[in-house]
């Protein structure tokens, strides 16, 4: 799951809080500032859960005021692809 958000204090807590409430298991996560604008950022998760739960938490995450968008894909490819890209930029 990939989220784009404003890089405010507590945003990560808000996101994690929703996943915790739904007991969604986080296998890996990477949070980062946007490389061109420090006021924006994002989080990439590798989650272990069902498709139905992904739909439900995505809707809840999209409700967060600072979250711009949420997208998800089955499998671990997206996580490694995106996290490698962020590591490369750093």
């Amino acid at each position: 799951m990939e989220l784009a958000a404003d890089n405010n204090f507590s945003v990560l807590n808000r996101i994690i809080n929703i996943l915790n409430r739904r007991r969604v298991r986080i296998k890996k996560l990477m949070a980062h500032e946007n490389e061109t604008d420090f006021r924006k950022g994002g989080v990439i998760f590798l989650l272990h859960t069902t498709e139905d739960m992904i739909e439900k938490v995505s809707n809840q995450l999209e409700k967060l005021i600072e979250v711009e968008n949420v997208r998800s894909r089955e499998g671990s490819d997206l996580y490694f692809e995106l996290s490698e890209r962020i590591v490369d930029v750093d």
Binding site: F9, R21, N59, Q60, E62, K63, I65, V67
Partner: protein
């Protein structure tokens, strides 16, 4: 040379820029947002704001409550009846944590509230300073949004965003935590700009015609369509649209707990109140309809009962402003992502005129069963003991269903929801989702201050009353003429009922030894009376309603008076019971 010096000095002595403190900026921002009354309790970290308030006493009314929980519940009551944003102030640490219950209540019941808390100096954050608590993380799960401000220059922006977020989309509570240095800091005069958008926040979904058409198709082909109206109807101001839609399509309307008042109860298409203690017909026919339209409601477990047995025969249409509610509990056949008003307006244009006389009549047939098994006995009891239902029934008749009635949580709440015939929107104020005991007394204060010309009656049980009883001091100090009706059964009645029905009458810690409530009210200079006999009830209720000042009436009711119908825990809505099951 001298002349040159003089000229330079003149340049230096340009007009000085006026500076004001962050605390005063906050008050000016609140006024710019239309705030006229707020509820609060001072303390060390919010003292600069209270100091500024001293100079604004003629412009901003501040009500000194007796506990911060009272402040936030009063703000909720104010917001629920007025449609405006309620504001509460508190200090750091315990002052802020005392707001948590009210914030959680406001979040789950979609109530627009802005809470402002003082915080320790910014350089002390994270050091375990006196009365320092991480308010942002503490309130994060119970607010729609929260923010900490550490510099005066950011106060105006935070307030503007807070008010915008609280009132738009699915409404809810917001908290602003302001460090003491930011309150004291002097900055240049400022221009307040209301917030009209936030880059990442899309509060109002764009109505999709395709969604409306799909829903209309189901409605037009339905033989037994059924609308479940929730608080979303009230929040979007869609009562008129709902009446028109129901009249055009002939669809019966039932109400959730928070939706009471959204559709007039004397309307021929009104078929009752839903949920665990709702009407027999409205629950049973949920499992008989062919198209179920959830309108501005969230299929709460108190409405659905056992979800696996809920409306399996029906095609479900869900209309809500909050995308996260769609398919959260009940899988839908069609949905409209919009507020109730926009959705009904669009649907009305696509739905055909119809009548469902036989279908509505089936509700009335079931109503007869409920009347015979439950209501008849409750209105005309054979026992000496007063019953809760007869008290509320008489209150409803005496006020013609037009008072603002604020309830707490428990049996009295369910009985009021069943028997008070709410005629108008925003007259039923209760703690729905959170089920917060102690809500009613402070919420009634807030409601009365918002709509002073309306009769406001707080109906409370003896348990919940004692959770925020200290607010009698606020009622006394500000002469708030709320009417307080306590139904006293000397029990935590709802828990006792469950113990009776499902725990073999093992009344574990539910019986209460209560104080002399009349003397307590009188100690606060509130006129008070206690009634134990049926023949005294009418006159006592009338005296309470006629009183120009606050009034406390205690009615002693049967200790083991139960609320029926009831959908037992784990049962489906079709398995609603009307009496104590025979073993």
């Amino acid at each position: 040379m001298d002349a040159l010096l003089t000229k330079t000095e003149e340049k230096v002595a340009a007009p000085t820029i006026k500076k004001i403190k962050g605390s005063e900026i906050l008050l000016r921002c609140l006024m710019a947002e239309g705030v006229d009354v707020m509820f609060g309790y001072p303390g060390g970290a919010i003292m600069p704001v209270y100091d500024a308030l001293y100079s604004y006493a003629d412009k901003l009314t501040h009500i000194l409550v007796r506990h911060e929980q009272g402040a936030v519940h009063a703000a909720q009551g104010y917001a629920r009846v007025s449609g405006k944003i309620g504001v509460a102030l508190a200090t750091s640490g315990p002052g802020a944590t005392n707001l948590v219950t009210g914030l959680a209540d406001a979040l789950i019941d979609s109530t627009p509230v802005v809470c402002i808390t003082g915080q320790v100096f910014a350089h002390l954050l994270g050091t375990d300073a006196f009365q320092e608590i991480d308010v942002i993380n503490t309130t994060l799960p119970v607010t729609k949004w929260n923010v900490q401000v550490t510099e005066a220059k950011d106060i105006a922006d935070a307030v503007a965003k807070a008010f915008y977020i609280a009132k738009t989309g699915r409404q809810g509570p917001v908290l602003i935590d302001i460090t003491k240095n930011a309150q004291n800091e002097l900055i240049e005069e400022f221009e307040y700009e209301k917030c009209e958008s936030i880059r990442t926040y899309k509060p109002k979904p764009t109505l999709q015609l395709s969604q409306v058409e799909a829903a209309a198709k189901l409605i037009n082909s339905a033989k037994r369509p059924y609308i479940l109206a929730g608080q979303g109807v009230l929040l979007s101001g869609a009562t008129k649209e709902l009446i028109e839609f129901s009249e055009k399509t002939g669809i019966p309307v039932a109400s959730t707990l928070l939706g009471l008042g959204a559709f007039p109860q004397d309307h021929p298409n009104y078929v009752g109140y839903l949920g665990m203690h709702g009407n027999y017909s409205s629950n049973v026919n949920t499992n008989e309809c062919d198209v179920l339209i959830g309108l501005g409601m969230r299929f709460d477990d108190r409405v659905t009962g056992n979800v696996s047995k809920y409306a399996k025969q029906a095609k479900i249409i869900h209309i809500d402003i909050d995308k996260a509610e769609i398919n959260k509990i009940i899988k839908t056949e069609a949905f409209i992502l919009a507020d109730a008003k926009d959705a009904l307006t669009a649907l009305a244009a696509k739905c055909e005129a119809n009548k469902h006389t036989e279908w509505i009549d089936s509700f009335h047939q079931l109503d007869k069963i409920e009347y015979e098994k439950v209501i008849q006995h409750e209105f005309s009891p054979t026992s000496k003991e007063l019953m809760m239902a007869e008290v509320i029934h008489r209150l409803s008749n005496k006020t013609n269903g037009e008072a603002i009635v604020v309830t707490d949580v428990g049996q009295h709440q369910m009985v009021t929801s069943r028997y008070y015939k709410f005629k108008n929107p925003r007259t039923n104020v209760t703690s729905g989702g959170a089920g917060t005991m102690g809500f009613a007394l402070p919420a009634a204060m807030g409601a009365k201050l918002a709509i002073p010309h309306k009769q406001v009656v707080a109906v409370i049980g003896d348990g919940g009353y004692q959770m925020t009883i200290q607010e009698l001091g606020t009622i006394m100090q500000y002469n708030i003429p709320v009417k307080i009706l306590v139904l006293n059964n000397n029990f935590l009645g709802m828990v006792r009922q469950w113990q009776q029905l499902f725990h073999e009458k093992r009344y574990s810690f539910t019986e209460m030894q209560n104080p002399n409530f009349v003397k307590i009210a009188e100690a606060y200079n509130i006129n008070a009376k206690k009634v134990e006999k049926r023949e005294e009830l009418d006159a006592a209720l009338q005296e309470m309603l006629d009183s120009k000042t606050s009034y406390f009436l205690e009615v002693v009711v049967g200790k083991e008076d139960n609320v029926f119908p009831m959908v037992p825990a784990g049962a489906g809505v079709g398995e609603v019971i009307l009496e104590i099951p025979k073993k």
